[in-house]
Subunit: 95 residues, 2 copies
C-alpha cells in the first residue's frame, strides 16, 4: 500500500524551483549593508545605498504551481523569515 | 572650480541599481543550505535541494549603463565576492 501511495505521489508531483528573497524591513538597522556601503565609498565608488538580502533557491515537489507557491509561502513563514523584522518575496517556476 | 566640477559630474551621471548575487561555487560545502534543507524536511516538506545566496542591491551613479555594469563587476571582484570560492551574477538597470 505504501509503495502504491508513493507511486501515486510521484506520478502527480512535478518539480518546481522557488526563489525566496528575505531582507530586513525598512527602518531596521542593517550593519552589513552599512559596512559594505562604507567600504565601497572608501574604495572610491560613488555608491548611494546598499541593501542586502538572502535568497533561498529551493527545489521542491508539488502537484501544481499554486500548491508550490503555497508551500513556499508556508516555509517562509515557518522557517526562512522572521515576520517581526523581515520581508520576503517569492517567485516559483516549474522546472 | 570644485563646484563647477561637481555640477558637470551630476549633470553627466545617472542613477543605476545593480543587483549582485553572490553564491558558493558548486562543490563547496554550504552548511547553511544543508541545515535549511534538513529543517524543511523535518517540518514535512518535500524538498530536494536548497541553495543560498547573498544579494547586494546597490544604488550607484554612472555616466552610462556600460559604465555602471563595469563598476559593479569591479566592486564584485574587489569586495563582494571571493573569486576562489564564489560565483556571482550582475544585473544592472537604470533607475
Amino acid at each position: 500500500m505504501k509503495v502504491f501511495k508513493s507511486f501515486i505521489l510521484s506520478f502527480n508531483s512535478m518539480k518546481y524551483v522557488a526563489k525566496i528573497d528575505v531582507s530586513l524591513k525598512s527602518g531596521h538597522s542593517n550593519p552589513e549593508s552599512e559596512t559594505t556601503a562604507h567600504l565601497l565609498k572608501e574604495l572610491g565608488y560613488q555608491v548611494e545605498k546598499v541593501d542586502t538580502s538572502k535568497v533561498y533557491t529551493i527545489a521542491l515537489n508539488a502537484s501544481s504551481l499554486a500548491e508550490a507557491e503555497a508551500t513556499a509561502e508556508e516555509m517562509s513563514k515557518r522557517l526562512l523569515a522572521n515576520p517581526t523584522k523581515d520581508i520576503y518575496t517569492i517567485n516559483v517556476v516549474e522546472q
